[in-house]
C-alpha cells in the first residue's frame, strides 16, 4: 500500500482530473455526465480532503513530506528549476482548509447552480476543478518559482470564474479588472522571484539550503546581496514579492478588484475569499515568513498596510447595501488583520486567523448564497428582512459566522483577532525604534476596525434576517435544499469551535505547538524558529502585558459596534447612514479609489504612453527613415555614373588608378 508521502501530489491532481473529465465531457458527450459535471468534482475534492487529512495526520507524526517531482530546467554549476511537493505543518493545515472548503463549495453548487437552472455548468465545474488544483499545488509548492506559476494559475481561474456570466457586461468587466489589478502586483512578484534566484541561486522555501536561511546567513556574515547591503537586499526582494501579495490578498491600494469580483456566482466568491485566490497572498507571506522576519522595515510595512486596510475596508463595509458587497469589504478588512498579525511577528496569530477566516467567511458567503436563492436572486439587503423564520438553518449558521467575524467570544474569530491585536501591541510596546511605533499605529488601526466590524456585521444580520419582510420577494422566500444546508451546518460548527484550538489568553495553544511539530526535521519553518529569527535579526522584543486586557478592550469594542447596529437596524431599520451626509458620500464611493485609479490609468498612464508612442513614431522612426532616405537619394544619384558604355568604365578605372597612385605617392613622400 502506498504511503501518503508517495501519493501526496494526488491531493492536487484529483481536482485536475475532475477538470479534465468535465472538459472532455463537454467536447465528447455533453449528455453523458449528469448534473453538469458536479459529481466528478465532488468526488475529486472529497478524495483530496481525505488525502489531505491523511497527510495532516502523517505530518503530525513529526515527519514532513518532501518530494521532488520534476527538474524541468537545470543549468550545470548554477541552479535548477524544479517542481516539488513540500508538506510541513503550515501546508498540511492549509491543504485541509482548501480541500474542505472546495468540497463544500462543490456540494453547495448543486443547490446554487444546478437547481437554479444555470447553463454552462460543465464549464463552471471544470473551472472550479482547475481552481482547486492550482491552489492545492500552490500550497504544496516547495520553491518560489513553482509557487509563482500556480499563483498565476489561481489568478487565471478567478478571472474565468468571476466572468462566468460573461455575456453580461458587468461580470466580464469585473473579471478583466480582477485579472489586471492582480497582474499589476504580480509583475513585482515576478521580478522578486528572478531577484531571489539571482541573489541566492535557489528558490527553495525551507531548510538550510532555502533562500530564507541563506538570507539570514548573509545578514549574519555581512555578505552583499545583489550589490546591496544584506539588509537592503532582503528588504528590496521582500517588497517585490509583497507586490504580488498585496494584489492577490486585496490589500490597499490594490484592493479595488475584490468588491467588483462579487459579479461572479456566490459560490465562487466563497471559494475565492475563503480558501483560494485571496488566501494565496497571505499564505505566501506565512510560507516565506523566515524571509520577512529578517527585516524590521518589511515587518513594519506589512503591519501598517494590513492595519490600515483593516480599518479602511471596514469603514466602507458600513455603508454598503448589497449583502455580498458588505462581505467583500469584510474580506479585505480581515485579510488586513492577517497581514497585521504577520507583520507584527505573530506567525501563529496570522495563520490562526487565516484558518478561522476560511471557515467563517466561506460560511457567510454560502449563507448569503442561500439567502439569494431563497429570495429569487435579490442582493439588496433593503429588500430582505424577516428571513429568520423562513430560513432557520441559514439564519443560525449565518449568525455563528457573523459572531465569529465580529469577534464575539467564544466564536472562532474572537480568539484569532484578539491574538493578532495582542501580538501587535506587545511587540509594538517592546520593540525600540520605528518598528515599535509603526506597530502601535497599526494596532490602533486594527483596534478601531474592531468596532466597525461589529457594526457592519450586525447591520447586515439585522437587515437581512430581522424585522418585517420589506418586499414581496422577502415575504414568499422559499426554503433551501439539503445540498445548501449541509455545507452551512458543517461550516457553522467549525466557525463556532475552530477558535478553541488556540485560546492564547487561557494558555491553550494547540495550533502553536502544531506549527512546531516538525521542528526536528530541519525545515526551519517552525513557529519557534521564527520567534528566534524575529528576536535575533529583526530585534523584535515583547513587552509583558496580560492578554486579558486587550481581549477585554477589543471584545468591548466589538460588542459596542454590534449593539449600536442592533439598536439602529434591529426592528424598524431606516437608512441611518444617509445622515452622515458628505462622509457617506465619500465612503459610499469607496473613497474614490476606483476613480483615482481610473484617473491614474487615463490621466497619467495614457498620455504618457501616447507621448512615448509619439516619440517612437517621430524620433526613433524618424532617425531610421532619415538614414534610409539619405542612402536611397544618394543611390539614385550615384547610379547615373553607370552609363553602360565600356569606354567610360575604362576611363573611370584609369582615373581611379591614377588618383590612387598620386595619393600613395604623396603619402609615401615621393614628391
Amino acid at each position: 500500500m502506498a504511503t501518503i508521502g508517495e501519493i501526496a501530489p494526488a491531493i492536487a491532481l484529483l481536482p485536475l482530473a475532475s477538470f479534465a473529465v468535465a472538459l472532455a465531457s463537454v467536447v465528447f458527450a455533453p449528455r453523458l455526465l449528469q448534473k453538469g459535471g458536479a459529481i466528478p468534482g465532488i468526488l475529486a475534492t472529497a478524495g483530496s480532503l481525505v488525502l489531505s487529512v491523511w497527510a495532516f495526520v502523517h505530518v503530525g507524526g513529526g515527519e514532513p513530506i518532501e518530494q521532488e517531482l520534476l527538474a524541468w530546467a537545470a543549468a550545470p554549476d548554477s541552479f535548477e528549476l524544479t517542481l516539488g511537493v513540500l508538506i510541513d505543518p503550515l501546508a498540511a493545515l492549509m491543504l485541509v482548509i482548501v480541500s474542505l472548503v472546495a468540497f463544500l463549495v462543490h456540494v453547495f453548487s448543486l443547490g446554487y447552480m444546478n437547481a437554479e437552472g444555470e447553463t454552462g455548468l460543465h464549464r463552471y465545474y471544470a473551472e472550479l476543478g482547475l481552481f482547486t488544483f492550482s491552489m492545492l499545488f500552490f500550497v504544496m509548492a516547495d520553491n518560489i518559482l513553482m509557487a509563482f506559476m500556480f499563483f498565476e494559475l489561481v489568478g487565471l481561474c478567478s478571472f474565468l470564474l468571476i466572468g462566468f456570466w460573461f455575456r453580461e457586461e458587468a461580470p466580464a468587466s469585473a473579471a478583466k479588472k480582477a485579472f489586471l489589478v492582480t497582474r499589476f502586483g504580480d509583475y513585482f512578484f515576478l521580478v522578486g522571484v528572478v531577484g531571489i534566484f539571482a541573489a541566492f541561486g535557489t528558490g527553495r522555501f525551507v531548510g538550510s539550503e532555502g533562500f530564507p536561511h541563506l538570507a539570514e546567513e548573509a545578514i549574519a556574515e555581512g555578505h552583499e546581496i545583489l550589490g546591496m547591503s544584506p539588509e537592503t537586499g532582503v528588504m528590496v526582494l521582500g517588497l517585490l514579492v509583497l507586490g504580488g501579495v498585496i494584489g492577490k490578498s486585496a490589500q490597499f491600494p490594490l484592493h479595488t478588484w475584490l468588491p467588483d469580483a462579487m459579479e461572479g456566482p456566490t459560490t465562487v466568491s466563497a471559494l475565492i475569499h475563503a480558501a483560494t485566490m485571496v488566501a494565496a497572498g497571505v499564505y505566501l507571506v506565512a510560507r516565506m515568513f523566515g524571509f520577512y522576519a529578517l527585516s524590521p522595515t518589511l515587518l513594519a510595512i506589512i503591519a501598517l498596510v494590513g492595519g490600515f486596510t483593516a480599518l479602511f475596508a471596514a469603514t466602507m463595509g458600513v455603508v454598503k447595501d448589497e449583502i455580498k458587497q458588505v462581505l467583500a469589504y469584510s474580506t479585505i478588512s480581515q485579510y488586513g488583520y492577517m497581514m497585521l498579525g504577520l507583520g507584527a511577528g505573530g506567525y501563529v496569530a496570522g495563520t490562526f486567523h487565516l484558518m478561522n477566516h476560511a471557515f467563517f467567511k466561506a460560511l457567510l458567503f454560502l449563507g448569503a448564497g442561500s439567502v439569494i436563492i431563497a429570495t429569487h436572486h435579490t442582493h439588496d439587503m433593503w429588500k430582505m428582512g424577516g428571513l429568520k423564520e423562513k430560513l432557520p438553518v441559514t439564519y443560525y449558521t449565518f449568525l455563528a459566522g457573523s459572531l465569529a467575524l465580529a469577534g464575539i467570544v467564544p466564536f472562532s474569530g474572537f480568539w484569532s483577532k484578539d491574538e493578532i491585536l495582542y501580538e501587535s501591541i506587545v511587540h509594538g510596546l517592546g520593540t525600540d525604534g520605528g518598528l515599535g511605533v509603526l506597530l502601535l499605529l497599526a494596532f490602533a488601526f486594527g483596534l478601531l476596525a474592531v468596532f466597525f466590524t461589529g457594526f457592519y456585521t450586525f447591520r447586515m444580520v439585522a437587515l437581512t434576517f430581522h424585522g418585517e419582510p420589506r418586499t414581496e420577494v422577502a415575504e414568499d422566500a422559499h426554503g433551501v435544499g439539503w445540498s445548501v444546508k449541509l455545507p452551512l451546518i458543517v461550516l457553522g460548527v467549525l466557525a463556532t469551535v475552530a477558535g478553541l484550538v488556540n485560546m492564547a489568553p487561557l494558555d491553550v495553544e494547540y495550533l502553536h505547538s502544531w506549527l512546531d511539530t516538525t521542528e526536528e526535521a530541519g525545515l526551519l519553518t517552525s513557529a519557534h524558529h521564527y520567534e528566534e529569527v524575529l528576536h535575533d535579526v529583526a530585534h523584535v522584543e515583547a513587552a509583558t502585558l496580560t492578554p486579558i486586557a486587550t481581549a477585554a478592550v477589543s471584545l468591548g469594542l466589538a460588542l459596542a459596534g454590534a449593539l449600536a447596529a442592533w439598536r439602529l437596524y434591529g426592528s424598524d431599520p431606516q437608512p441611518h447612514t444617509d445622515r452622515l451626509g458628505s462622509i457617506k458620500e465619500l465612503v459610499g464611493n469607496n473613497y474614490y479609489q476606483d476613480e483615482y485609479q481610473v484617473w491614474l490609468a487615463e490621466g497619467v498612464t495614457l498620455p504618457l504612453s501616447r507621448a512615448a508612442d509619439t516619440f517612437d513614431q517621430v524620433v526613433v522612426d524618424g532617425v531610421v527613415d532619415g538614414v534610409s532616405s539619405v542612402s536611397l537619394f544618394s543611390g539614385r544619384r550615384i547610379r547615373r555614373i553607370q552609363s553602360g558604355i565600356v569606354s567610360n568604365y575604362v576611363a573611370l578605372l584609369t582615373a581611379g588608378l591614377v588618383v590612387l597612385l598620386v595619393t600613395f605617392a604623396f603619402m609615401g613622400g615621393w614628391f
Binding site: 547610379r639 553607370q642 552609363s643 553602360g644 558604355i645 569606354s647 576611363a651 584609369t654
Partner: protein, 100 residues
C-alpha cells in the same frame, strides 16, 4: 650590359601606349591588342627585375602571365564574336543597355 632603367622606361612606354589604346579606340579587337601591350609591359618589368636581382622567380611569373594573357584573349575574342553577332559591328560604343 644594358642598365635596368632602360627596361623600365621601355615597359612604362609600352604600358602608356596600351592605356592610350584602351581609352581612345572603339574597335574591340584593337582594345584587346592594347590590353596585350599592357600585359607585356608588366612582363618586361618582371623579367628586368628578375635579371637585376639574379632571381628566377620573376621570369617564372612572366611565363604565368603569358598563359593568363592567352586565356584572356580567348575570352576576349569570344566577347567580340558575340558583339559582332548582335550588332553586326565590333564598336564598343554600341552596346549601352547593360546598366541600371
Amino acid at each position: 650590359m644594358v642598365p635596368v632603367q632602360w627596361y623600365l622606361l621601355l615597359s612604362a612606354a609600352m604600358f602608356c601606349i596600351g592605356v592610350f589604346g584602351v581609352l581612345t579606340r572603339r574597335n574591340a579587337l584593337v582594345i584587346l591588342m592594347s590590353v596585350e601591350l599592357m600585359l607585356n609591359a608588366a612582363n618586361v618589368n618582371l623579367v628586368a627585375f628578375s635579371f637585376q636581382h639574379g632571381n628566377l622567380t620573376g621570369q617564372t611569373f612572366a611565363l604565368f602571365t603569358m598563359a593568363l594573357a592567352a586565356a584572356e584573349v580567348a575570352i576576349g575574342i569570344g566577347i567580340v564574336l558575340v558583339l559582332y553577332r548582335n550588332f553586326e559591328d565590333i564598336d564598343v560604343g554600341l552596346p549601352t543597355t547593360m546598366r541600371w
